[in-house]
């Protein structure tokens, strides 16, 4: 397993946000993590990235125990995240934001810039614009592009389709598929559960800090109780 989370508990003060969750991501997979608001999806990704401390439990990356490794070092291992709310640096230009993605990398970034501009031509047109003045959709492209600049082994995406027009949502999802096809493993958190499950190989369902289901994405997509809870019942059928 490339990424393993083993019985992890995370607290905010006295409140237990993750109550012993375990999950695995194998190399080359797209794994989706779905669940209602407040279930702990963002907390899970932040914990994996090392910006929420683990109280008990283990996190392993490529066999190495990284439970207490500082967050910035995990980036060097290849664990990168496009966080919820995008986290664009508002005072930096598109180019500077992309450079931030490659903060600890040495050597030429030309190829990486080309790749990102290729995936998101809109970013190429706006190189000199500051992040704070970009539209929500443009910021989302920038956030994903920035995570790619690190050449991640595993890409953690927290609601990449949030606030995007339907057309852009499909575009983002097809780009995720493309990134995965190029060899990047993806752990995806999504509200847009139908599309996430259509894209993913496997999925976990999180409910108030606990994993309640784990199955191939196609099984969950076909499961009536999952459909009712997360996919908007029959409405999901038309998607």
């Amino acid at each position: 397993m490339l990424l393993e989370v083993d019985d992890v508990h995370v607290f905010y003060g006295a409140v237990e946000a993750l109550k012993g969750i375990s999950l695995q991501v194998a190399k080359g997979e797209i794994v989706a993590l779905i669940g209602a608001n407040g279930a702990g999806k963002t907390t899970t990704l932040k914990m994996i990235s090392g910006v929420r401390p683990v109280k008990t439990g283990k996190v392993r990356f490529d066999g190495q125990d990284i439970t207490h490794m500082p967050g910035h070092k995990r980036v060097d291992l290849g664990l990168c995240q496009a966080p919820e709310g995008r986290g664009i640096f508002p005072g930096m230009t598109v180019v500077e934001n992309l450079e931030m993605g490659a903060f600890n990398r040495k050597g030429s970034l030309t190829e990486d810039f080309d790749r990102v501009y290729d995936l998101f031509p809109r970013l190429a047109e706006r190189r000199k614009q500051v992040g704070g003045t970009m539209s929500g959709g443009e910021q989302q492209m920038l956030a994903i592009g920035r995570a790619l600049m690190a050449r991640p082994e595993v890409l953690l995406l927290d609601e990449p389709s949030m606030g995007l027009a339907p057309k852009l949502v499909s575009q983002i999802f097809s780009i995720i598929r493309q990134i995965n096809a190029q060899g990047t493993t993806v752990l995806l958190v999504e509200q847009n559960a139908v599309q996430a499950l259509t894209l993913a190989h496997r999925a976990y369902v999180l409910e108030i800090g606990k994993i309640v289901r784990s199955a191939p994405a196609a099984d969950l997509l076909a499961d009536d109780s999952v459909r009712a809870a997360y996919l908007g019942g029959d409405l999901g059928a038309s998607a």
Binding site: G71, V75, P83, F89, P90, M92, M100, G132
Partner: protein, 313 residues
């Protein structure tokens, strides 16, 4: 009110105001950088400056340099004073970060706790220099003749004033470029704008904070040696008044904003000297404090805004 003396003193006041203001501007950078990154006021920064003035003075006394120098000896003496000043200030800034701030940050303590910690550290540093060095003023030697190069109106432009303004401008530009163009600068801006996302990009927050204190300390060190050149004496509490004025300059320009520190420094330097010529020299400090209160009341974000966080450096 002495409007007549304001008119007759206008050019000398302006020249002295700009000279003093460039020292304040360098000094203000430490407040501004640390605020930009940690969102807290480093009230011990005045002692960072004080240690700089003391270190530069100490090395001159230690080497028995006490007279006018020329040629290489002059350049050497000035560089040595500057190196000791920057070294002393930088080391103090780093020690403060490690001892007074980092442990509190680790425990997630409030900003009020950090403020109290800074004030405590400030007292300790002053007392150490008062007790173990001296509570009297010590002289910093005049290393070169302060001769007049040319006149502007009734003001004499002397070599020391030119040195101070040129050195201050060079350092400010160097710092501004460092923050705008280097990897270190990008890291500092990233932490200022969004520390958690900065971590997700691989930025080492602790190290970035350390470098921020280091840069602020170096700038205060340059301010300190220039202060010595201008006023030629120092003691344990020398940082107090210029510290408040530099802080006022930082707030006036927009704390967190590097160009704001330059603008604020120059305005405060000029106001101080103009205030002295209009109201009498006993009012020069009061003029600055009135400005601080007015800025905090009516424009707390300063003239240029808090921009390390928002605009482009």
């Amino acid at each position: 009110m002495h409007l007549h003396s304001f008119v007759t003193q206008f050019w000398p006041s302006t020249v002295d105001g700009v000279t003093l203001g460039s020292i304040y501007a360098l000094f203000a950078l430490g407040y501004t950088l640390v605020y930009g990154v940690l969102k807290l006021i480093n009230f011990a920064h005045s002692e960072v400056f004080m240690v700089g003035t003391m270190s530069a003075m100490w090395i001159m006394h230690f080497l028995n340099i006490s007279a006018i120098q020329s040629g290489f000896a002059l350049v050497g003496a000035l560089l040595l004073a500057a190196l000791f000043s920057m070294g002393g200030s930088a080391a103090t800034a780093l020690a403060l970060e490690r001892v007074a701030y980092r442990p509190l940050r680790r425990r997630g303590a409030s900003r009020l706790a950090a403020l109290i910690s800074a004030i405590g550290a400030s007292f300790v540093l002053q007392q150490v220099f008062e007790v173990y060095y001296s509570n009297q003023y010590s002289n910093f030697p005049r290393l070169f003749k302060h001769s007049t190069l040319f006149n502007i109106g009734s003001a004499q432009i002397t070599t020391d004033r030119v040195l101070i303004v040129v050195a201050a401008v060079v350092m400010m530009v160097a710092l501004e470029r460092t923050v705008a163009l280097t990897k270190l600068g990008r890291g500092i801006r990233a932490v200022a704008q969004d520390p958690e996302t900065a971590t997700l990009m691989g930025v080492n927050i602790d190290r970035t904070i350390m470098y921020t204190f280091l840069l602020g300390g170096i700038m205060a060190g340059v301010a300190a040696v220039l202060w010595n050149v201008r006023f030629e004496q120092t003691r344990f509490d020398i940082g107090f008044l210029p510290g408040i004025k530099a802080f006022t300059a930082a707030v006036l320009g927009g704390i967190g904003n590097i160009r704001g520190a330059l603008l604020g420094g120059l305005i405060i330097g000029l106001l101080e000297l103009y205030g002295a010529s209009v109201f009498g020299s006993q009012w020069r400090d009061t003029t600055v404090f009135v400005v601080l209160v007015l800025v905090l009341l009516f424009r707390p974000s300063g003239l240029l805004g808090e921009s390390l966080a928002r605009a482009r450096a």
